[in-house]
Homo-oligomer: 144 residues x 2
């Protein structure tokens, strides 16, 4: 028999879990509707950093939106074991901004953020966490 | 050497990919901010169906929001092979609604939507797709 344990994760634990980078899901209010897209990210200086293209309509949507001051987005990272039905998820909420100053761009390029698509993704976007929350679900196996 | 191929998926292919159900990420405009949460879903009669609890603040946020007519949400499902750097993602956008008529509830219960948490998740929410889009990234290995 197993008991389900639902835990709320503190910010330090959330940051530890998302530190390795990888695939996260970016949610933002697009021109027409709420949009969610997977992107390959890195955690760099406490911010979520990823690259985007200049040429797709969704990316254009995102770039246009971010041009507004305080364009708030949500970024979700998770890892689940579907066989054991255990896992965790972390939600980062905060403003996104274009990385465009020379200094910041050099830092972003140095962070080694990779994109799976080739070429044309030289534009960096950074999310400054305003709120980081997370939860974990796990199972405790008792004697009965 | 490999070439990256980015494909746009048509609705039929998207539906085929998400048909097995599993973990998807729900995005909605919460009371304070955009929120993204993983949920276990089933595709039932062309709609995304999942269960939620009555007792968490986020779920309350979601339930309160859905009480508004035409509460539009986004639901993302993906599958990536990080070693091969290939995968797909599907985005379902549309209104969410509470499953509350007796007839609809009986159908939802019959669909076998499971929740990983025990108990208290007897409330069903359904998303009727207004728009289904998807993309796939794969690599073609040439001779050179």
């Amino acid at each position: 028999m197993s008991d389900v344990v639902l835990e709320t994760l503190d910010e330090a634990e959330c940051l530890r879990l998302i530190a390795p980078g990888g695939i996260g899901r970016l949610a933002f209010a697009g021109r027409y509707d709420l949009t969610v897209l997977p992107v390959n990210y890195k955690l760099h200086d406490g911010a979520i950093l990823f690259r985007t293209a200049q040429d797709s309509s969704t990316d254009e949507d995102l770039r246009t939106g971010i041009a507004r001051a305080e364009y708030r987005v949500a970024f979700e990272i998770d890892d689940f074991d579907t066989a054991r039905r255990e896992g965790w998820s972390v939600l980062v909420q905060g403003p996104a901004h274009h990385v465009d100053s020379a200094d910041e761009l050099a830092q972003a390029q140095g962070a080694g953020v990779e994109t799976w698509a080739d070429g044309g993704r030289e534009h960096f976007i950074s999310i400054t966490p305003a709120r980081i929350t997370g939860r974990r679900i796990r199972r405790e196996h008792g004697d009965s």
